[in-house]
């Protein structure tokens, strides 16, 4: 059953931080190979600045009304409630597939080539549907455990790669072109999907402070910079020959004769994608289901699975689903335009009330 008890906003943003950090774990040659570390660091700063702009309308909405878009849609525009809920539901279905497709591909190619990807997806989605039925509060509690696990994995991954760092051949110089800047910045705007989760679920949190999302984005940037740093200086040209650089980093990590922490990396990426998809289903549930009704969660889980199967067999569908530009455009509508519209509607109705 959906838990509507208000919980700490810090815990919710910790869960969003983990979701944002998982983007870099699933990175598969999305970044320009000619861009140096310093160049990528600038792209990270630019990308996350755009993410902050995506966050702004829902932050103002939360500060002013202590509520979220879906609740306000019910309160102020009951006639538009269903179209808005459907738009958000479709957005989250699309975004869930955007993360599921690379994750299942990585899981299948790197770990279990003999297992059918559809089976892995089905089991994963069942777990996510169960978590979504429990609500945002329970998922954010799981985030505390995941945060500690992510900390341990990152310490092992970075600490174990220290001996492979090569500063004599790979330097901090600024190498990159305008096209590479656009491509990489576009990639680093991907975590803006957390702004949409915030816009849909922030109504169930309390003790919100404006600095919380700022810290979330700063920590996300630091995590990205750390991964890019180790990929650039520890893996060098080798990374161009392999898929999923963060995975290769976990294979390279070693402490003396003890080598390879791929299992930690696998567990972290699995739990991160599990958390993302669960939160997406929670948001769908908040928009489309009446209290205590789990049918919608199951229906949308089946829709995600059906689309996944379609994308597996029809390549053009897969190309659309993994394309970052439609996702960013939809994120812009979901995180900026709709919350901004409700800031305006809220002010207007307050003025009428007065």
């Amino acid at each position: 059953m959906q838990t509507e008890v208000k919980f700490s906003s810090k815990r919710f943003l910790l869960a969003l931080l983990l979701c944002a950090c998982s983007v870099i774990l699933l990175q598969n040659n999305d970044l320009s190979p000619n861009a140096s570390f310093t160049f990528n660091a600038i792209c990270i700063a630019a990308g996350l600045a755009v993410c902050f702009l995506f966050f702004l309308p829902s932050l103002i909405l939360k500060k002013q009304t202590d509520s979220d878009v879906l609740t306000l849609a019910r309160r102020f525009t009951p006639k538009l409630r269903i179209p808005i809920a459907i738009f958000y539901a479709l957005y989250f279905v699309y975004a869930a597939l955007y993360f599921l497709l690379p994750y299942i591909d990585m899981f299948h190619t790197k770990y279990f080539p003999e297992v059918t990807p559809c089976l892995i997806t089905f089991i994963m989605l069942l777990g996510c549907a169960y978590a979504a039925c429990k609500g945002v509060n329970v998922i954010s509690r799981f985030g505390i455990f995941l945060f500690l696990f992510a900390l341990l994995t990152n310490i092992l991954m970075f600490g174990g790669s220290l001996s492979e760092l090569d500063f004599s051949h790979y330097s901090f110089e600024l190498n990159g072109e305008f096209n590479a800047f656009m491509q990489n910045t576009l990639y680093f705007v991907t975590p803006s999907f957390i702004a949409v989760i915030f816009a849909c679920c922030s109504g169930v949190t309390r003790n919100f402070r404006f600095r919380q999302p700022v810290f979330t984005l700063i920590f996300t940037g630091l995590k990205y910079a750390a991964v890019i740093f180790f990929v650039w200086f520890a893996l060098g040209d080798y990374v161009g020959r392999q898929t999923y650089p963060a995975f290769v980093l976990s294979r390279v990590a070693h402490f003396g004769p003890f080598a390879g922490i791929e299992s930690f990396y696998l567990a972290l990426s699995t739990m991160s994608v599990f958390m993302i998809v669960s939160l997406f289903l929670c948001c769908i549930s908040r928009g489309t289901c009446s209290d205590g009704n789990r049918k919608c969660v199951l229906i949308f889980t089946l829709i995600i699975f059906a689309l996944y199967v379609t994308a597996t067999y029809i390549n053009s569908v897969k190309e659309i689903l993994v394309n970052p530009i439609p996702l960013l455009l939809l994120t812009f509508v979901a995180a900026v335009m709709l919350p901004a519209a409700y800031i305006f509607v809220g002010r207007k109705s307050n003025a009428k009330g007065n």
Binding site: K110, G236, D237, V252
Partner: protein
Amino acid sequence: MRRGISILLTVAAAVMLSGCNNSRQIETASIIKNVSVDRRGGQVVYTFYRLSSSEKPWGIDVPADSFEQACALAREQYIPNLSLAKLELLMLSEDVYRQVMQDDVDYISTQASFSPIAYVTLCDDGAIERIKETNRTQSLIEEQLILLKKNNPSVNINYLSIFNNFARRGEDSFTVPFISSEKELKVSEFEIDREKMKKTAK
């Protein structure tokens, strides 16, 4: 009732996800621990040493022109269940390294299953013979390699750093380990000239 169903489902999931249904004994799994490359009668021979519990190593000789070809031949003709995910050491004889090293490291870099930090070393024929005698030789070599790296961080002891040195532009040479076996196994540094290697490979 609900508790009973949950317990049944948990037990079923534990059995299904444990991976034991497709298990194999280590002796029959054909996990390769190290590979040596030398020349015999004018032909390059790749010897695949399997992980085994016995004291004496169990190796299979595969004559081939490259590591890629040797892996394909080994799978087809000698070891159908060949697994190279646990490969820890590639030993190249000083007679053959100019001919095969660059191409072999390049092939390995494209394979997802190989570990990028597996050791690569050059050696004399005596060291190749020593590795055939006992399983302890491999651990001895690995210990010596770690020690060498500790004393001289610029030496390149694994696929990752050797691949990066081949890929890099500007520098003419780099150093790798060399194992000699005059009295006992001894690891020293060996300078590789990239230009000479390119000419020999052509």
